[in-house]
């Protein structure tokens, strides 16, 4: 079938449009579209581009705040971080491609999110990755873990942006649908921000970067020329990343922008030339004419359909004034990049394209972008998981249980993953992976930007509202541990099918949990991403609203410590006893998927986080938050193989809750004896318990006079390293 054949309902269906959407399309257009126009509609009306199921709920997220310069709607969010600097950040998913081809899927995921950030005029200074895999023993799972990590490593390391943090978790619900979410933080001067707007009729449209091939065109198979069926069979469904070109794009685009040579700029991400051209025109209230014969191609005989929908990587679209076109092309040449003039901005709000001398398509912009379908999907609010009926948790073999916990995939040390990432390129990493949050200096300054990603999807499965709220609270605590105050959130909401009312209910509850917590804690959500349809054979993943949070340290004077030192005193700030509902102890040791996951106590969280951040900035304490696995796993994280601790908890406390309880906004603090008075004074009016001191090579916990746990630190510290030991081995 030819690209200019008339479309029909049947073809619309194959493009994923519902019959009502087809009717809506016909009404909006007032005529029957041709095939390329149908392809464009289906791309822009897809869930991915239009947010048709989520938009109504995303509105609940607080996007305002005194620091916010650009909220959701642009390529990335922008917040002011002091001294005229802004942080530009976003998180995005690349789940499905990574399941098909983990290496290229993850690599191009990193590439895409980098472009979203430097497109805004910001230099990327750090990347994080939030990963979810299935049962480590499930088929293909090691191959997937390995491929994803290599993909992130080879791409991120080559472009020279340090990967400084992230998370990794395992759960069988991801067996058929892994999650690869990548976050990038960039910095710019406040007056150096650029937007994806095609403004100024008469301006030129310049295509820059890699040539267009037939990569990742999702439409119906018949969309290719009929006599080219052999080629259709060979069409790659996965895109291949080229990090060298990406690196050159970063440098060249930043130089073009700093020289004031571009009016607007956007990368060609999902749906390639289609989304970049329509979205840029829409934001500016203008239109475009495109000469498709001018689009640089990698393969022969590409049709308008393929040109508009290709997802070849490392491509940008620039809007340039007529007088600057030559300068732009020359600067690109200096960086070894191709740039081509492919069209003009016009006043009329349409995109019109020509091909081989004739018209290819002409579409009005509003129906495709602003008036795309919106759905109020029916949803069923989830019932939070019932509280567990717990066995009597007395006089158990706490040491053995701790070891079982530490050896579980959920408590894995990600060291073998992040050791494959360049963490310090840029020479600005104060705290890299392995700590609660990363801390990176804005180049040439003492301003520290901190970042973390968090989401306990096990808890979100039990109670999407509280689980999501807790993810926000945990992120705040993680930032506090490196001394930072939160300034903004980006999110990546990974869920099953929105057409399933139960999944939709999880989605709504999770958004409300994030929204409420961010609103009360006054942290704006400035960018994000929704990934639906994460399911296989009707089986949805756990609801996974990954939270990426950025914080600021106005002036970094000390390196925050993640570990304790000999002779220090250990304190718990917050309740000594945690909650077992939704804890790793319940999940792993007792095999109970049960709640309740507690609600966030906003007042306490905020007070404690502020105080901890301040003490860390002053260099008074080393801090870590008490999350996955409870106090004992925090102790192991803070200790080292040759340096343990001796703690005493009150004889009448509930040992399981002290050792393994989670939630409630608790911190573990280590402090030099000389600084104890300062700590106690700073925490006045808050729950603060002194548990003991650092020393010896064992972790010893006493309840009153009775020893409840005594284990070799070397052994404990070694356990979380075991899971990924196979990564040390080599493979082809």
């Amino acid at each position: 079938m030819r690209w200019d054949a008339e479309a029909n309902l049947e073809l619309a269906r194959e493009h994923g449009l519902h019959p009502q959407e087809w009717e809506r399309l016909l009404a909006a257009l007032g005529r029957t579209p041709n095939l390329v126009e149908l392809g464009i509609f289906s791309a822009l009306w897809s869930e991915h581009c239009s947010y048709k199921s989520s938009r109504a709920h995303l509105r609940k997220l607080p996007a305002q705040g005194p620091r916010v310069i650009q909220g959701p709607g642009e390529n990335a969010g922008v917040v002011a971080v002091g001294q005229g600097w802004v942080a530009v950040f976003k998180m995005e998913s690349h789940n499905h491609p990574s399941f098909i081809e983990p290496y290229q899927g993850a690599a191009t995921g990193v590439g895409g999110i980098l472009r979203d950030v430097f497109t805004m005029g910001a230099r990327p200074i750090m990347a994080l990755d939030s990963l979810r895999f299935g049962d480590p023993d499930a088929p293909r799972m090691r191959y997937l873990v390995d491929g994803v990590v290599r993909g992130i490593s080879d791409y991120g390391n080559c472009v020279g942006v340090p990967t400084v943090g992230g998370e990794v978790d395992f759960h069988p619900s991801y067996n058929g649908n892994i999650l690869v979410n990548a976050m990038v933080v960039g910095v710019a001067r406040e007056d150096g921000i650029f937007y994806g707007r095609a403004s100024g009729p008469g301006n030129h449209v310049v295509y820059m970067g890699s040539k267009t091939g037939r990569d990742g065109i999702h439409g119906a198979t018949m969309a290719s020329d009929a006599f080219d069926e052999a080629a259709a069979a060979k069409r790659p469904t996965v895109q291949v990343g080229d990090p060298l070109t990406e690196k050159l794009l970063i440098e060249c685009c930043l130089e073009l922008m700093s020289r004031g040579l571009v009016v607007g700029i956007q990368d060609m991400g999902a749906a390639g030339l289609t989304s970049s051209s329509f979205e840029m025109a829409s934001r500016a209230g203008c239109g475009l004419v495109l000469d498709l014969d001018a689009v640089p191609v990698r393969e022969h005989g590409m049709t308008p359909y393929e040109l508009m929908l290709s997802e070849s990587q490392e491509r940008m679209l620039l809007i340039v004034t007529p007088g600057n076109v030559m300068s732009v092309i020359n600067l690109c040449k200096r960086w070894g990049l191709d740039a081509t003039d492919i069209g003009r901005v016009i006043g009329e709000p349409v995109v019109r394209a020509t091909f081989r001398g004739g018209p290819a398509f002409e579409l009005p912009i509003a129906p495709l972008v602003d008036d795309a379908p919106r759905y109020e999907r029916p949803f069923r609010r989830p019932e939070p998981a019932a509280p567990a009926t717990l066995p009597a948790l007395r006089d158990r073999d706490w040491g053995t249980e701790l070891k079982t916990l530490l050896a579980a995939p959920q408590l894995v040390s990600a060291r073998r993953i992040w050791q494959q990432y360049d963490q310090s390129v840029g020479a600005a990493t104060v705290v890299g992976p392995g700590a609660d949050a990363a801390l990176v200096l804005i180049p040439g300054t003492r301003i520290g930007l901190a970042a973390t990603t968090d989401c306990n999807s096990f808890a979100c499965g039990l109670d999407p509202y509280c689980g999501a709220a807790q993810a926000v609270a945990e992120a705040v605590r993680n930032l506090a541990c490196v001394g930072a105050e939160p300034v903004g959130v980006t999110d990546c909401l990974n869920f099953g099918s929105p057409e399933n009312p139960t999944v939709m209910g999880q989605f709504v509850a999770a958004i409300e949990g994030v929204a409420e917590t961010c609103r009360v804690l006054e942290i704006p959500v400035v960018s994000g991403n929704v990934s639906f349809y994460n399911q296989t054979s009707g089986q949805s993943i756990l609801p996974t609203p990954a939270i990426g949070m950025v914080g600021v340290v106005a002036e970094v004077r000390h390196v925050p410590r993640g570990s304790w030192e000999l002779g220090e005193a250990l304190y718990v700030l917050g309740p000594l006893e945690g909650e077992l509902g939704g804890s790793r102890y319940l999940q792993i040791i007792l095999g109970l998927e049960a709640g309740p996951v507690p609600a966030v106590d906003h007042v306490a969280e905020r007070r404690r986080s502020r105080v901890v951040a301040e003490l860390v900035r002053l260099g008074v304490v080393a801090a870590t938050d008490i999350s996955d696995g409870g106090l004992v796993t925090a102790l192991v994280r803070m200790g080292s193989p040759d340096c343990g601790a001796d703690l005493t908890i009150p004889w009448d406390s509930l040992v399981a809750r002290v050792l393994f309880g989670e939630w409630l906004g608790r911190f573990l603090l280590a402090v030099q004896p000389a600084c104890e008075p300062a700590l106690v004074q700073a925490c006045e009016g808050m729950e603060l318990a002194r548990l003991g001191t650092v020393g010896g090579d064992r972790l010893v916990v006493r309840a009153g006079k009775r020893i409840v746990l005594s284990e070799s630190m070397a052994e404990l510290c070694g356990l979380p390293e075991r899971q990924l030991e196979w990564m040390e081995g080599v493979q082809g």
């Binding site: 472009v159 990090p243 690196k247 990432y421 310090s424 840029g426 020479a427 600005a428 180049p443």
Partner: protein
């Protein structure tokens, strides 16, 4: 070569895909030099007294790390500079380029683990009587980060013997106490080689990144002296 109180000029070469160039420029300035960015297509070194080939992925490290950069126009000027006794420091990818153009012996294979490795290592300083190492103490142990996938130095046995006889090994991977041991070798490099120096001591190639370690806030100052030696040699 300081003339009239001016700071010594150090050329930092930028290839397409270099990614430690900005860090190198900043580090040269921080230790008192004047850092001069030099583009790979340049045919001269802009009156610089020393050259730094920074780390990164020149030409994406496609084909072999450093292979394509070795053919850049600027490398002719770098070779001439080296032949005339000028100082050249190659860090990581810069070291790989120096091997590819034969200014230092051997070649880099992929790390034994076949993976990229980024972590701190300890290296022992083997020579201090040469220009690019004279700011260091004999036997001094430095803690520096490595970040590479191809740092597994290889040469034929005869070449290895020659390298050892000449004392061309400048830095060796060691444990924190300075013992050169197999388990302190992160990548399988022969003789635990982390850095090689030319006979005259004016060309130095090393896998660890001294330019990332010149500040207490950023992991320590163990790279300071090496960067300083380069500036003094300019």
């Amino acid at each position: 070569m300081t003339d009239g109180g001016r700071r010594p000029r150090v050329a930092v070469v930028i290839f397409p895909g270099s990614n430690c160039d900005r860090d190198a420029l900043a580090a040269v300035e921080a230790v008192g030099g004047e850092a001069v960015p030099v583009w790979h297509q340049s045919r001269d070194l802009q009156r610089c007294g020393a050259v730094l080939l920074p780390g990164g992925y020149s030409y994406g490290n496609y084909l072999r790390a450093g292979a394509m950069a070795a053919h850049s126009p600027v490398m002719k000027a770098v070779r001439r500079h080296a032949d005339q006794g000028g100082a050249v420091l190659g860090i990581c990818n810069g070291f790989q380029i120096l091997l590819e153009i034969g200014l230092l012996p051997g070649a880099m294979l992929m790390n034994r683990s076949l993976r990229f490795i980024c972590r701190d290592v300890h290296v022992r300083v083997e020579r201090t009587d040469l220009p690019l190492l004279r700011t260091l103490q004999p036997g001094q142990v430095l803690r520096l980060p490595i970040a590479h996938k191809e740092g597994n130095w290889f040469a034929e046995p005869a070449v290895v013997r020659e390298v050892e006889q000449q004392g061309a090994v400048a830095l060796r991977y060691c444990d924190p106490s300075g013992q050169v041991r197999a388990d302190a070798n992160p990548n399988g490099s022969l003789q635990n080689v982390a850095g090689l120096v030319s006979r005259e001591g004016t060309v130095l190639g090393m896998m660890p990144h001294p330019e990332r370690r010149i500040s207490r806030l950023l992991g320590g100052e163990d790279g300071w002296a090496l960067m300083r030696a380069l500036v003094e040699a300019a």
